[in-house]
């Protein structure tokens, strides 16, 4: 296959650790290649070397649409030969218009840098690009006013569009997409996938990094699987089944569905009556002792708000909650924690942990009282306790002094969960605990949750991806626009059923 990107024997070592080990692979033109692997498998390292953020161990030449590019490169050079990247957070500025956001990558079209910007011309040009991607919004719309899906498509359009030449140039581009659908509601994913197909059909090479196996099965033409910095498989996607794919990624058998050893008990831990917030409109539900209850729903359904209210991070407008029979109205997160409610927020890096602090410092955040005796912090005791948590939760690498920023997403999440658990909560609230982490870490976290529930802890797990709730939850609350539209239990806790309920509640009779 002519064109595309060919990488030859690329290696990268960080502080003695091989992050990328002699990787040779290709991302052909006119195909969508899924780049798969665990957190920590080397996907990001590979992408960052190509993007010019890291230097490889040795100088290497890669082939981009028959142009030779010698690594290391600068981000600018990478851009010029047609390597384009869309980061998971899209890197769009919410306060600016779509057209202005385009100009960051593409410059304003003025004769000189000091020439006047013609708003009309900019808008016309950007509008034409947007139209080819099926975005109908006006280029003067503020990015912050767009929904997530449109934003994602705008991000993709911005990455591949090329200013000073014709639109055909997509043919000479390699577009890397880092989890473009992770934050999107299930029913909107197809729109983004359609745009990816469009770019492929116009001759571009698309590289998709995703943890969503179903999505990869649907869209990828090829898969490249990395594990521990090495390519363990590269082949056509056709002929692979989802189990086979997971097996390639985790390097073991996929048939590892965890089971609980106990059933939920009878007593009610959490009781919610008429709970209202800015989004929530009167929720009523109970959670039993030792029960794992899911919260499903699309983005904006009120899932995070419910979690934040229970965690004391946000106040309810009206309604009542009680915890183990006593009224529960936390004013601050500290109140909620004292009452026995631990919370794992959705925004892992921003709100879950402090990335600039070490693992040890993160695990004892809010718990230093345990190690403070006779006027001193007992740092040795703190480290010992951290090592216990590392062993118990399987955090890798097992280094208490390593900054949390340097751990992979899955291991960061395990650290956040372990801190929440170490409070001995009666209710654990997890908001999107599986987002952006690999299959192996998902399983480990699911197992941690099951073990806790077996000990009598009640657990609420919120997720926009119904697949994360299936096999874990005894019951699932389905929210839609702030209302509880269904409670799925037993056999109804199935991916298709939940997705349907969340997306289209009106077409269903209440499942209650």
């Amino acid at each position: 296959m002519p064109g595309g990107l060919t990488v030859d024997r690329l290696s990268k070592t960080f502080a003695g650790q091989r992050a990328l080990d002699d990787v040779s692979t290709a991302f052909p033109a006119g195909e969508i290649t899924a780049l798969l692997g665990h957190n920590g498998s080397g996907k990001s390292t590979l992408i960052k070397i190509l993007a010019g953020f890291y230097d490889p161990d040795d100088e290497r030449t890669v082939d981009v649409f028959d142009q030779e590019l010698t690594l290391p490169v600068s981000p600018r050079q990478a851009h010029e030969v047609g390597l384009r990247f869309m980061h998971q957070d899209l890197a769009l500025v919410d306060d600016l218009t779509i057209a202005d956001n385009f100009a960051f990558v593409d410059h304003f079209h003025t004769r000189t840098d000091l020439g006047p910007i013609s708003r009309r011309r900019e808008h016309q040009r950007v509008g034409e690009v947007l139209a080819t991607f099926g975005v109908e919004e006006d280029p003067g719309t503020q990015v912050g006013d767009l929904d997530m899906t449109t934003k994602t498509i705008v991000g993709m359009a911005r990455a591949v569009q090329d200013s000073r030449s014709s639109e055909d140039d997509i043919r000479h581009h390699v577009l890397f997409l880092d989890e473009p659908t992770a934050a999107l509601p299930q029913d909107e994913v197809e729109r983004v996938l359609e745009v990816m197909r469009g770019i492929r059909d116009r001759g571009g090479a698309v590289v998709l990094v995703s943890h969503r196996i179903d999505e990869v099965m649907r869209i990828a033409d090829r898969v490249v699987v990395l594990r521990d910095g090495r390519v363990v498989a590269q082949r056509e996607r056709a002929g692979l089944d989802p189990d086979g794919l997971v097996e390639l990624i985790v390097g073991g058998s996929a048939a590892d569905e965890g089971r609980r050893s106990k059933a939920p008990e009878d007593g009610v831990t959490l009781s919610v009556r008429g709970l209202c917030g800015p989004r929530l409109r009167g929720l009523d539900f109970d959670v039993r002792r030792g029960e794992i209850v899911g919260i499903a729903g699309l983005v904006g359904c009120g899932r995070s708000e419910l979690a934040r209210i229970l965690a004391g991070a946000q106040r309810a407008e009206s309604g009542a909650c009680s915890l183990a029979g006593t009224p529960f109205e936390p004013k601050t997160p500290a109140d909620a924690l004292r009452a026995g409610v631990s919370y794992v927020p959705q925004d892992r890096r921003g709100a879950g942990c402090i990335t600039g602090m070490s693992l040890q410092e993160n695990l004892s955040l809010g718990l230093l009282g345990r190690f403070f005796a006779r006027g001193w912090l007992n740092l040795r005791e703190e480290r010992r306790s951290t090592r216990e948590a590392i062993a118990e939760f399987g955090i890798r690498p097992p280094d208490p002094r390593r900054l949390v920023a340097y751990f992979s997403g899955g291991n960061q999440q395990k650290a956040v969960v372990s801190r929440a658990v170490s409070r001995n909560p009666t209710l654990l609230v997890l908001d999107e605990p599986m987002q952006g982490i690999d299959v192996g870490a998902k399983r480990e976290i699911a197992q941690i949750v099951r073990n806790l529930a077996d000990e009598g802890v009640s657990v609420l797990v919120g997720s926009t991806d119904a697949a994360d709730l299936v096999g874990l939850c005894e019951r699932v609350l389905v929210l839609n626009r702030g209302e509880l539209v269904a409670i799925a239990a037993g056999a109804e806790v199935a991916e298709e059923r939940l997705t349907l309920l969340a997306a289209n509640p009106d077409g269903e009779e209440g499942a209650r």
């Binding site: 070592t13 960080f14 502080a15 003695g16 650790q17 091989r18 992050a19 002699d22 040779s24 692997g37 665990h38 920590g40 498998s41 996907k43 990001s44 390292t45 990094v209 521990d228 090495r230 390519v231 363990v232 498989a233 590269q234 082949r235 002929g239 086979g244 097996e247 390639l248 991070a313 601050t332 997160p333 500290a334 924690l337 004292r338 919370y343 927020p345 921003g350 709100a351 879950g352 942990c353 402090i354 600039g356 602090m357 410092e361 004892s364 955040l365 809010g366 230093l368 403070f372 006027g375 001193w376 912090l377 280094d399 390593r402 900054l403 920023a405 340097y406 992979s408 997403g409 690999d438």
Partner: protein
Amino acid sequence: MSSIKAADGPSRAVGEKDPREGPRAGRGFGDRVLEYTAEYGIVIFLVLMCVGFAIWQSGTFPTSRNIKSLLGNQAIPAILALAVVLPLAAGEFDLSIAANLGFCSIASAEFASHGMTPALVIILTLMIGAAIGLINAVIVVGIGVNAFIATLGMSTVLAGGNLLLTNGNTVFEGIGESFTSIATTRIFGIEIVVLYFLIVAIVAWYAMERTPFGRYLRATGMAREAARLSGISTTRRLSGAFVIAGTLSGLCGVLQTAHLGSAAATVGPEFLLPAYAAAFLGATTIRRGMFNVWGTVVGVLVLAVGINGLTLAGAPIWVPDVFNGVALIVAVSAAVLVARHRERAKPKTT
């Protein structure tokens, strides 16, 4: 799944250590030397500077008289530099510390000249300093005004207050020996303010590094939402930082008056930049990337030794300001570069 085209194993010589076995494996001696040099760069710079001046100005710099006066003169700026470390660690600027020092210096001069006992003067002045810190806390933490703006406003208010109290004159009448002795008493020939500074530094180090307060203060500075969600009362820590900074500024004010025996209407602003320069220099060493107590002490010494040495060498009067300003810019640049280097080198994946 035999059809999978697995990549060949890596070409590694038999018996060669797998670099993944340990995080430190494969790091050479050179790497570690580099690491230490970066970590203790400004400590090394301080030592080199001392040695350099000792050789260059061998008749004046390395004398016991010069060193004693250097220490005596730097104790108060050093305490003020420690005062800014707390709000900085919590992620906020307190620009009012120098004006607070000035206001407290004048207030204590007024108290002393009206015949109050030294103990009463100290207590009253510390209360004024703390009250200023508390007002800052209310404005910044309670109302939510940007700390930069709030404390800048407070500075200007206090500068006006100085003129109100003094009418623009220097306060010196009636300030007696009993009051000045709280700063100028000598122990082994060194002024007692140096001892005060040491006590403040040790207590500050203890509070920052060995108590939950210090750890949570840093957490507040690094990621406020994450700290709050983990049950830390970030508003309390932040308010605490402002009040402690205010109190320490008040202490500096009393000591400044006692040290000089007078208080000029314009005292204060000249202390601001060196305090921040020292704190930022300090953030490049000992605990790199974080504002820390001993780093700040080293920062104060770098500035003091540099200016002292250059002055002894006959540098003209504009040199100290330039030196302070350049040091601040270089320090912050170094901190940024260190952070960027770390960012690039970080073994971050996916």
